[in-house]
Each structure stands twice: as C-alpha cells, then as structure tokens.
Subunit: 823 residues, 2 copies
Amino acid sequence: MAKKTMKTMDGNTAAAHVAYAMTDTAAIYPITPSTPMGEIADEWAAQGRTNIFGQKVQIRQMQSEAGAAGAVHGSLAGGALTTTFTASQGLLLMIPNMYKMSGELLPGVFHVSARALAAHALSIFGDHQDVMACRQTGFAMLFSNSVQEVMDLSLVTHLASLEASIPFMSIFDGFRTSHEIQKIEVIDYEDMKPLLNTEKLDAFRARSMNPEHPDVRGTAQNPDIYFQGRETINTYYDAIPDIVDGYMKKVAKITGRKYKLFDYVGHPEAEKIIIAMGSGCEAAEETVNYLNSTGEKVGLVKVRLFRPFSVKHMMSVIPKTVTKIAVLDRTKEPGALGDPLYMDIVAAYAGTKNAPQIVGGRYGLGSKEFTPAMVKSVFDSLAKPKHGFTVGIVDDVTNSSLFDCQCVDTTPEGTVQVKFWGLGSDGTVGANKQAIKIIGDNTDLYAQGYFAYDSKKSGGITISHLRFGKKPLQSTYLITDADYIACHNPSYVNLYDLLEGIKDGGTFVLNSPWTAEDMETKLPAAMRRTMAEKNLKFYTVDAVKIAQGVGLGGRINMVMQTAFFKLSDVIPFKKAVTLLKEGIESAYGKKGPKIVDMNNAAVDNAVDAIVEIPVKAEWKKLEDDAPKASKEPAYVKDVMRPVLGQKGDNLPVSAFSHDGTMPVATSKYEKRGVAIMTPEWVKENCIQCNQCSFVCPHSALRSVLADDTEMVKAPKSFETLDAMGKDAKGMQFRLQVNTLDCLGCGNCADICPAKEKALVMQPIASQTKVQIHNFDFSNKVSYKDVMDRGTVKGSQYRQSLMEFSGACAGCGETPYVKVITQL
Amino acid sequence: MAKKTMKTMDGNTAAAHVAYAMTDTAAIYPITPSTPMGEIADEWAAQGRTNIFGQKVQIRQMQSEAGAAGAVHGSLAGGALTTTFTASQGLLLMIPNMYKMSGELLPGVFHVSARALAAHALSIFGDHQDVMACRQTGFAMLFSNSVQEVMDLSLVTHLASLEASIPFMSIFDGFRTSHEIQKIEVIDYEDMKPLLNTEKLDAFRARSMNPEHPDVRGTAQNPDIYFQGRETINTYYDAIPDIVDGYMKKVAKITGRKYKLFDYVGHPEAEKIIIAMGSGCEAAEETVNYLNSTGEKVGLVKVRLFRPFSVKHMMSVIPKTVTKIAVLDRTKEPGALGDPLYMDIVAAYAGTKNAPQIVGGRYGLGSKEFTPAMVKSVFDSLAKPKHGFTVGIVDDVTNSSLFDCQCVDTTPEGTVQVKFWGLGSDGTVGANKQAIKIIGDNTDLYAQGYFAYDSKKSGGITISHLRFGKKPLQSTYLITDADYIACHNPSYVNLYDLLEGIKDGGTFVLNSPWTAEDMETKLPAAMRRTMAEKNLKFYTVDAVKIAQGVGLGGRINMVMQTAFFKLSDVIPFKKAVTLLKEGIESAYGKKGPKIVDMNNAAVDNAVDAIVEIPVKAEWKKLEDDAPKASKEPAYVKDVMRPVLGQKGDNLPVSAFSHDGTMPVATSKYEKRGVAIMTPEWVKENCIQCNQCSFVCPHSALRSVLADDTEMVKAPKSFETLDAMGKDAKGMQFRLQVNTLDCLGCGNCADICPAKEKALVMQPIASQTKVQIHNFDFSNKVSYKDVMDRGTVKGSQYRQSLMEFSGACAGCGETPYVKVITQL
C-alpha cells in the first residue's frame, strides 16, 4: 500500500486532483457548483503542473456547455483523454453530444457536482435531477458519497472508462460534497500511473481520427441498418460492472479503502433496508450504525455504479433476511410511477419469488437537509410501507411526507461541533477554512467544514458548520447539536435564532460592543432564557474595536478565530497561536510586514478582549418579548419572514404558489441593519457634489432636497445645509443614510472628494441619533409630478426630492424620509 | 355527431391542422421529420387562415430549437397559447426550458414526430429515443398511432393541456406516421371551438406576466424551500388522467371515435398480450386480430397517455386472464435494466399478487420495419419468455433477437397493394401522391401511401408503397405482398430484387425500351424465373419515348400513372382518365395550355404504348446468372452491396463496426447507371471550353487530354480532337462521360455555349458504344507527377490527364479511361 498523504480539501478539489492526472485535454464552461473544478485545473495548468503522462493539461473554456460538450466529443475522437466538469442546466446542454460519445465508444469522463434543475424556481444546490436527465444517454454513472470517495472513485471512473471504451459520469452531490471540506487521504500521481491500462490507451489513440488512416464517422443510416448498428455496443455495457469492480479492487490495493458496485452496511440479518445514492448515504450509514447499536436490524445499500445497473452485484450484497426496502431518490420525475432508482430496484426484483416489499421516496431536492432523524423516520415508516413518500419537508398538500421525529443524535462520541454566524465577505468563512486546515494538518483529528450561504453573497448571511473528531466524519448534514456557537455580527441577535440546537453546557461567543448590563436590553428574552436553561458559557468580544485599533478596519475574522481557539480548546491554545501566526506570515508575507503585524496584533489583543458575561439563573423565567404588531402582507409575514429568519425549512408545501410566482416589491420589507460601520455625515465639510449618493451600491445613501413647506414638518434633529446650485435655490440639502439598508462598504466615504471628508465610517453605536434616521425608497410619485416642481432637472447625479412619512423604523421617533429619485 | 369531412393527408398535416386551430403563437425551428408541420402552419398564416379564435397564428422561426423553446416559454408566460413542432436533437435542445414550462404550470403543446437520435450514426427516421429523453421533464406525453389518431388526439392534448395547466408532448412516429398519407376524417374548427374550456383560458391569461399585475418568476431558491416548491405541482399531475379521459370522451362525441388512456384490443380472455406505444400498435392490432381469427387468445394494450402513467386506468383494461406480457419499447437505454415502458409496466405490477410474467423487448429503432411476422414472433416467444429481446434484426453478437418467422399475411381481404420503384426527382412519388388523392377523394376506398427513400434524394431510389381498401388501413409497414409492382427505371432490373414479395398472379410493369426479345437478355434469369413461377402479368411501356415525343423530356410520371390506372383497375379507367386530366388542369393550368396539352397527350398516348410481354413457362427452369467475380474489399462486398441492393435489413449486428466508423472512399464502387438520358458528345461542334466538365454536379463528365504515347494504347472507338491551347499543343482532347455515374440532369448540355450544341441528351440505348465508355476517377497520381508532364497548368477549368486502365465497366470491351484531375 502507498504511503498516506492526508490533506484538507473539498470535493471539487479532490475531483480536480484525479481528473488532472488522467487527462490530456479538458473543455470547460463554469456552472455552480462545478466551477471550482475547472478553475483549479486551469490554475494548475497555468502553474505548469503535469499529469501522469508528464504533460500539462490543455484546458479550454468554450462559449457554453454545449460548446464544451462538442469540444470533448471532438477531442476524444482525436484520441485525447478528455474531461469536463459541469452540473445542472450545463449538463443538460451536453445531452445531444453525450449520445454521440457513447455511441462512438469514446472514453471521456464528466465530473458532475450534481445539482437541481430550474423548474418552478432555480436552485444552485445539490440533487440528482441533472444526472438523472442523462441516464438514458449511454454514459456509465458512478456515484461518490464523500470527499474521500470522490478522490478514490473518480480514479476508478477514469481507469474504467478507458478500459471499457464507454464514457462515464463521475457524480457527487453539489455543495454537500463539492463544497464540503474534509481531511482526506490524497492518492499520489505516481501511484495512479501503473493502474492505467496502456494497451487500451494505445488502442484508443490508434482508432482516433487521423488523416494517416482515415475513416468515416457520423454517417446517416437508414431504417435498414441503424438498429443493428445501435446494438453493436451491448457487449461493452455487459463488461462494465466487472471492469469497475476490478478497478475498485486495484485502487483498494494502493489505498486500503475497499468499494463494491453496491456496498452494504448494517446488520447482517437486517429486515429493513434503505437503498440510496450520493452523500445522503453517509448520514444514512451513521444512522444505521446508531440504530443497530440500539438493537434494531437495519441496513443500507449504497449504489455506486448506477449505470450499467448490475442486478447480480446488487443481489450479492443484500441479506436474505430483508423483507422491506425503502428506495430513496434525490430527484423528481412528475408523472412517473416512481423515481429512477426505485424503478430500478423494482425491476431488479421483477419475477423474484418472495421479493421484499419495495417502496420509493424522495428526499433532499435542492440540497434540502437529510438528517439522521429523517433516516430514522424512513425506517420507522417501513412498519407500514407507503410508496411515493417525501421526507424532509412538510407536504400538507398531497400528504406525502413522513413524520420527521427529530430525536436522534448519531454523531460519534467525541466529535466537536462548531457553528459560526457571519456576514458575507466579513472573512468568517475564510477564517474557518483556515482553522480547519490548521487543525486537520497539525493533529490527527478528522475535520469537516460546510458553509451555508444565503443568496446575497457579499453582505448576506454565512453559517459555517465545522466538525472535528477522531473518526472520519459522515455527518453530511448541518450541525444540529453544537458545542460552540459564535456570532460575528451583533445585529443577528434580533434576526436569527442563533442558539438553536446548542448543547447543554455549550459555549456562545458574540462579537459586540455590549457590556453585561447592555445584554439585558440588547438580547431578546428568549435568547437569554436559552442561555440559562442550557447552562451556556457566554462570552463577548468587541472585535470591531480591536480590528479598528490595529488598523484592520471592519475585518474582524482574525480576532474571532483567535477567540475560537482560545475558548474551544480543540487544540492547545499556544500551538494554535503559533500556527495562526505562521498562517498570517504565509498569507500576507508578500504584502509586507505592516499587514502581517496588524494581523498578529489582532491575535495578541483578542485574548484580553474576551469578556465572560455571567448567565443569570433568573433568565430561565423570562417570557418571550411581545411580537411586534405587523401590517405586512401575508406573503411577507408567512413566507418571507421565516425564510429571512433561517426558518424556511419549516415552511410547508402549502405556503408556496403552485407555479413558482412570488409577489414583487418585497425587498422593502427586509431592513436588516447588519452594517457594523455606517457613514456619518459631517455636514460642515460637504460640498454637495452628490458623488457619495451616486456610488452607493445599495441605494442606502441619498442626497435629498426639501423646500420650506416640507421643512416645517421636519424634526429638529433633521439637520440640513442651504442647497447649492441654481435649480435648487431656496431649498435645503441633506445626505440621508438608511442604516438598515447600508452594508458598511464605505464606498461613499472613499469617493468623497471634499478636502476634509464629509462622510466618515463609524461604528453605528458611536453615532448620534440624528444620523441614523431611515428612509423609504419608493417611487410612487410620477415623473410628471417631479417635473412640475421644476427644480432639479439637469443634475449630473441622482438627486432626490423628499417628503416626510411615518416614523423612523430605526429609532421609532423621527419621521421617515421618503425619497423620490429623479435620474 | 359532426358531419364527416374526409381528406387525404399525412400525419404532419393532421397535427398542423389541429395545432393551428388551438394556437396563438408558434415558435419553430425545422428538423426532419417535423419540418412540414411548421412549414404548413407558416403557409396557412401567410394565407390568412384563422384559428378558432378568428385570428391568424403568429409564427416565428428562431435560430435553433433552443431558441424556439425559449420563445415558447416566454410566449406562454405572456399568456399566449403556444405551440412548437420538433423532433430528435431539436427536442433535446429544448430540455432545459421544458423543466421551466412544467414547473411554472404553462400549458404549451409540443407536436413531436418522434425520431431516433444520433449515436453511432445519425438517423432521420422514427423511434422514441427523443421523447424518452424528455420523460423526466414533467411534460405529459400522449401518443398517437396513426394519421387519424394524430387528428383526434392532438386535439385532446391541446384541450387537456389548458385544462390541466401542464405542458404536453403530442407524439407520433416520425416518417411512419408523420409522412404516411392516409384518408382520414378531418375535425372542423367550428366543432373544436366549443370544447375549449374558456374559464381555464381566462385564468391562464390572467396569470400571465403583465405590468398591470406584476409578479416575480424564475426566482433562485435555497435548500430551505426549493423542495417544498417542487412538490406544489403534484395535484396537477394527479388530475391529468381524468382530464385527458374526459376530453377523449368529448372529442368522441363529435367524431364517433373512442379512445381510452390505455386501449385494449384482442381476445377478452387473452393469456398473452403485448403492451406498446406508437405506430407499431397498428401492425400489432392487425396481427392480434389475425391470430385470434386462427384460434389464439392474444391481445394488445396501446398506451396512449404515457405520462402521467395511470396504473388504475391500465389495470382496468387488461383481462384478468393474462399470464404473460411482452412490453415493446421503441428506444434504447444502454445500461438500464429495461427500456422505459417495460420499467413502467413492471412498476405498475409491483407488489401485485399473481402478477403476469413480464418481459421487455426492443423494436423499430430508426424506423426499422415492424411487421406482423415480428409481432407473431413476439407472441410465439412468450411460450418461453426472455427479457431483453430485440425483434426485427438479427443480433448475432449478443443473441438477443427473436426468430422472425416471415409467415403471416394479415392484410384485410380486398386490400390492393401497389409498389413503385422510382428514381428520386423522376416524379414517381408526386404522381403516386396524386393517385392516392384521386382514389381517396373520389371513391369510398381508404388509401394509404408511404414513401421509402434512400439518402441520395434527387437521383436516389424511391419506393412507393400504396394500399387501397374498404377498411381503414392499419398496415404500418412496407408492402410485402404486392398485387402490382411498377419499375420506372430499366436499370433497376440489375440492381434490385424488384419482384420480391409479389403475389401469385400479380402484375409487373416495367418502363423500358425493350422488346419481348430484348427481355431475354436484359432481364436477369432470376427475375424471369419468378415471373414464370408466380404467373405474373408482365407489361412494358417505353415511357421515355412517349414523354420525349410529347415534349416532356425525361418526365415519365404521367405515362406511368396512366399505365397504373389502366392495369390496376382500382377505379374504372375512364373515370381515372377524367380525374387525371382534371388534376393536370389544376396543377398546370396556370402555366398555359402547352404544358397542359403535353401532359394530356402523355395520358392519351400511354395506353397504346402498354405492351404485354408473354411470360414463358420455360423461364421456370432458369438458373441464376453466375455472380461476377469481385475483388472488392470485404466492407463493400458484405455491407455496402447489400445496403445498395435494398437488402440492408438482412445484415446482422456483426456486420457493423462497434463504434459507427466506416471505411472511406467507397462511393467509387457504386456505379449505378441509373440515368435515363446521358449526354452524347458531338465532337464536330465542340469548342473545348470545358464548361460542361465544370458544371457537372456528379463529376461524371470530364474533359481529358492524351499524348501520343497514350493514344497508341487507345482503341479505335476512342475518338478525339486535336487539343486547343498553347499548353495542350500536340495532345488529343476528348469529352468523356461516365454513364454509370451520370444522373442525366442535362446541366452539361444546357451550359454548352457552342453555336450547335456539342452535347445532346439522348436515351442511353440510342447512343453509339463509343460514347459510353466509363472511367475511373481516382487521384493516385501525385501532384508532382502531373506537374512533371508540364502540359496543363494555368487552365481556367478543371482539366484532366488520362490513361487507359482495364476494361470498361459499362460495355466490358473498350478500355477504362482513368482520369487524373488537376485543379
């Protein structure tokens, strides 16, 4: 067996590692979540990395996935080992060419980070709808369930494809596997090389298109002979199962990790089993082990080679004792009697005497969570099997869903589970990835990281889920039982249920400027009650202050990472500090000592800034704060608010329109107030150039004009300047920030051309109330109305009229400023 | 019930008729065999025809099928009833949009003339690979099996789609149904109109995209809610079977033709049944009726609504007595346990006690013939059921094929079956279509026409298969038992087995200039033997002579059509002549009386030109002519020759390369000699301009040069001129025709600029031998060799060097002229 090289990487990197080794040419086009595979391979090629043949891989980005598929087809026809990376609609664009590749017996490999398809709505997340839409193309299909399996089985696909002369899809779940970081064993290129069948390679190259020995391809065949030609390939498919099995054994010889076409895990005399594919098998295996440890007799068949489907191989692993089978599909085919894997299992048992009872169910569409609780509910449901169930959602329309019992903690003992709430682009995710690397590469602990984002990207919410443990981590689901939760943004205490699922005695760390006294008013009652009930250790760190102090502005990640190492105790803190600083040196060394010093100072200062806040026993008695009366539309109250509050998983099917439509103009209800720093207007310095308003990417800062009749309605705190310019003569000018929409990017302050900046970024807490009135940006006044005022036309920048309307959503006191934009 | 309007049309026209009625907008892109649907609809729109709403249909051709699908999606979202017409790879390009349409509950209809997909080779012919690649998209799928069913069930799809808010594919088999001409009953637009659910139409329009009531579509949904949103549509699918069934009943009320989601035909206590979809069901039904009439107990389930698949509806029609089921799929999914319909039937019976034994088989890929003999062999095979069979081919590689017994004639009594062998563009197919129309529209006979082509189009072979009978014609296969066979090209007697399957006492008509005496030498021995053994009536018509005589040149179709009416006696000949002349008037009236008169004369002269040739009893004893010794490569002998001889159906799977490759440079072996007229060189008139050689589209006429050393080897009959031009000084010039490659287009004679034409088109028989030596056009002499001769460079036209090589393939006497082209 080869020597072990452990590395911490995600599934995409593992796939790219193998693909790069075995490829002459890759034709690519980016699509989430497959993009990093192509990017990584492209980067390696640019760096001059060589494949097992000692050559750089030729990588070409095409105009679309359709073009990439055409290029793969052409390249294979030309005798080059060719690969692509894709998913979802991108894969669909390749379908026509896929029939050609399989029909012409070309051994290409598609690495697919399987993803949902756009139907009622788009989803960039994982399920098997895309690959299942290609199961009829003649491609072989091999599923990997974890990052380690991507490393191992991707290699099998490349080797088997060449041997079999049939193209393969090497499939793993989008995001859950493609973006999950795991500490895995890497297979060295030198170990891969001897496995390749060079005779087959020579034969493949020999039958390529070549003017030296030309042939005709892509002929048009008539009814007399097309059918016969279509049947010439059958023996190739018959051979695949044994070829794949053979390479699984050969790869096992160098890695020690054994796979079969169908892997059975569980009780040797199981009565009830689940059959499934993809990352869900990891959660299912964990649950099977747990349930058997409690005396049940259950099992799991992991289908690896889905096409060609070998009944013989499957039957050889299923215990004879099985009487009931639940087949789980991660796809949906409306109008079919069952989803594809279910249909296969039924067909596999067709005509068998005393066949088990078989039902099919659907789970995990669009990366919907698939947890041990759900796995258990599937097994429970087999007491009274029901075909066509769903699990993981509440289907209150066709009542297909199983009861989800929420009652098992199957994580292996000793696993540390950590959750971070961050703001998109605040550095939390990057810092966590570094933390995993530090722990993974410097201890014998296994590490897992999965990062949940909303769709707002920069400025959205990020939730990092980290696990560390002595055993490989199979928990392919979000953390539901956390040892440690950190929140990097104080505004979240009012927005999210931050402590959901924290363990008794767990640790909660909050970045905030608040004192113990402040906490009594700033934290919702429910949060404080949970702290008390669960005996949490509660810490606060004013990370913004430290970061600002050392010159890092709003970049608080190094402070919070240090706090994590200090408080979590996953590795000795001293060692952690050394490793952190080594990391800083290697990351920022090139940028000069100043940046390195600032980050080192953030590490050093973090420890002293950690303040433990006593959790009061009396908090146990707190009652929930009264919910604010809301006049919001039903959709906002019933759908949007839960989704924004990270409770969308609980919404039932009936909450949604049938055709995917949603009401318009709902973003105005989402006033998040997540900026750590917002601009403060120093009016004395303002030259009324309006550039700040122009550059604000979120329309959160606007210059406004008011005339005398309006100023009468204005509160005292509404400070203004006499407006400059002929058109605005006699009016009052003001820069108005909506701190609830502001994301604190600072573009306004950066652009300000005044001698002394008229806009200064400040922690929101330090600003005077007068600055933080908010406004309602709506356009209900028609263009004609605005023109009739005849005051602001010809302005180079967006300039706005304003009127007062209602109370400020921020402070509840001074009036809203309603801004009417004119271009 | 509405009054009956019978018309003779093909499946595409029937689909276009209904689609046009029910459509606001159609976005189209042409692809065989669906193209005529879009063309017809476009033509109607241009003519101002109105749909049931009294409006012209808006038809837009896009840049590809992908664009058409996008336009259909957008148009539906905009509230317009929208349609497209497509097939094969075109349909595959629509897949991504199809998920969107079904996910958004948009009632569009795709009319699909189902076609094979390009894999090892392309096929423009019919099977279900394309639609089966879309069965997971959420489209409902309804199959029509005949032209009449296209008319009836297309209407059901439009009505049901609107009612169900789900898009439909209305599917019928490419070519076999799309291009088969049948006399059918047309549904009037006024009868369709009341069937449309106007409330549903209003609701559909009301939920369209509209700035007056905007909504958001095409949102991106995260793991929390995508799954729930994907399940909102289930009730819509649950409702479809009853909706479709309801509209089948409503349409039946106006037409009298009843359909069910699954139609059972056959013995009420059948033990063995076939389950199938598409045009094959017609042949199967015919065979089931025949077999039951011989005492068997067999049946057939025609699956009409394939998606959503309703088990309840299927089970309600299958006799309880059934013990064995053969499921026939017209598609191929390499690596699957069975093809899609088989998988469905197995799943439908899953868990049923005492379920019948179910096997699946494949037939008819790429319009491979599916005949009663094959249907019978499927039933026969159920004695010992074997899953995964093929029928219709000889699979000698994986031995999947059933024995095809070739022993049933199931055509209803009184059906007249007629077969015409023609040359592409000689007018045979057009004349046959006219004949069907004449018979269909002027008698109470049902008529069917199907036209088999090779891929050479103009100049290729056409075989027209016509049936006439008192009952609707279900024989969805080529004619195997002909009452009448006509051959429009005398050269075919040596190329094809023209009399294959002719009935005892049948009629054979040959267009030829040959006398009874000539026949003894011109006709192969086997042909004469068949005539004698089968007691055929044998006629010849020198149609070329008549056509030339009346000024129609090589257009012999009117002569041969008249001969058909005279000899076949399908309708009284006098009536036929009247109808033929009416047809001539309406077809050519606009072109002036001259053309009309020429055609009328062709009709009048045809009768007298029919010469009956006595069939000699002694021909029975004739032995086959000795086969010519052949040095051709194995591929040419074993694959190409049978294919060219219309015997490709008999080639086994082992005859073909596994990956679809074929050898190059094989067309040189195909010397057909099918031109009725070829150019004769009148050398006295020749000005050696070479334009004839330049325009010849088949490189069948070349100007050649020879020097003295070559002329020594030339035969006396090899007449030449002294070559003109400085470079060619001292050489001999000749225009050389290869009459075996010539297709008789006459371009050379047309272009000849000489005062008196130096090229004259003549019936080949009237030419002197000296003109018809043939040549081998090969390029084995290298460019350098040619340059070394230093004689012909700088010529404006292609000019060739030549040498003599072997005997002429045409006359066997004088030498081949081997031509070496220089550009």
